[in-house]
Amino acid sequence: MNIPENLKYTKEHEWVDVKEGVAVVGVTDYAQGELGDVVFVDMNDAGETVSAGDEIGSVEAVKTVGELYAPVSGKVAEINEALEDAPETVNSDPYGDGWMAKIEMSEPSELDNLLDAAAYRELIGQ
């Protein structure tokens, strides 16, 4: 199970990578494994202002569908449009090309509410 040390995590199995005030968001390796083959990533349009916990999209796998929540508040600056044609990237590269949204954070202190790699590893019992 790949759980990179440099990322933050949520209890909803999302990861957050902070780069210059922007939170890059995706789902974890564990989540993609539990979902199975991802066939459709349905993201809300970019430009929306969201609060931490708001639904910003959904991830459809063959057998199930999962919601994607904003881990932090801010403006959704960009969504990963490449996933429209290649949703399987979420399975093959969840922490890289499988990223889903970039959020310009309005409350950077919210990052303190997220889990570090060790806490996330414990959450999923690894």
């Binding site: 199975g36 083959d37 066939v39 459709f40 349905d42 959904s58 459809e60 063959v62 057998k63 569908v65 949703p87 399987e88 399975n91």
Partner: protein, 368 residues
Amino acid sequence: MDINLQSAKKTKLFAKHAEAGAKMVEFAGYAMPIQYESILAEHKTVRESVGVFDVSHMGEFFVRGERALDCVQEVITNNAAKLVPGKALYTAMCYEDGGIVDDLLVYRLAEDEFMIVVNAANIDKDFQWMSRHDFAGAELSNLSDEYALLAVQGPDSQKTLEKLTGAPIDLEFYSFAQTTLAGVEVILSRTGYTGELGFEIYFKGDEAAAGALWDAIFEAGAEFGIKPVGLGARDTLRLEMGYCLYGNDIDATTNPYEAGLGWVVKLKAKEDFTGRTALANVKAEGVTRKLTALKTEGRAIPRKGYGVSANGEIIGEVTSGAMSPTLGHGVALAYLKKEFAEVGTTVEIDLRGKPTPATVVELPFVKK
């Protein structure tokens, strides 16, 4: 492994699934492989080469004796009298009101012996139903726990199995042979739930014997890229063909005519069987809703329970849906009011709050 799985029944191939790295789920009381590596890859394997399913959870009943045919005819809507030994048929079994008890396969093993293959979730219900309706006094037995069932499906399935029979397999669709495969006595049936050339293999024996046959099939199919296939791909494969799944598309509240299974109801050939009066009425009056094939343009998945509407009015509900791996778009079966079931009609499926256009199409979704 969760609690459901610990109490679930295991098939004789359980160890083989673990060995192959299957993700196991509880299904109809059995621990079954939902997928091994990827549902999409397994789906493709069956469409393009050959895949193997353990479907040992299915139930097998045997009906024997002079009145065996009468016993079977009483409970099924199709006509087993036309079966000669070596032939099988698909049928519905109906309640008095025409609702469906189960859909099943009937194999005529001999003049006075039939094998009935039923859905795993319905084994107890079906056996009770058949026993209660055995007015003919045939000998009925439920050997579901003794029989294993493997489905070998795909364009290379015949070449794979011919390596184990040592002779050409000459079976028409819905025919079977009582033969040996890799030294195991089997019922080898040219049937399946995928729409591909394929076989279903019924056999008795312990875990070791089942495992040995499993291994022999994989060795024989290695040159074709044979793979184990789980229930996930079994569902997408059957849905692409428009085959009904009991519990989703048919159940006690649906009748064969509205499910598009009128072809298995033989009112002319059979003067009496359980449910006949109600079904004759449905046929005479016509149905009010029909199981309808819908396609959507995008890859969002129309799932069971999603509402279908037209002109702002709810006209039905999805009973099965998927993103068709072969076609790359959404496909669904839904019971719609009859007037919306014409091919070409446009309706809307509520995809989790997003009304999405869908078009009524002909089955199968994937033309073979």
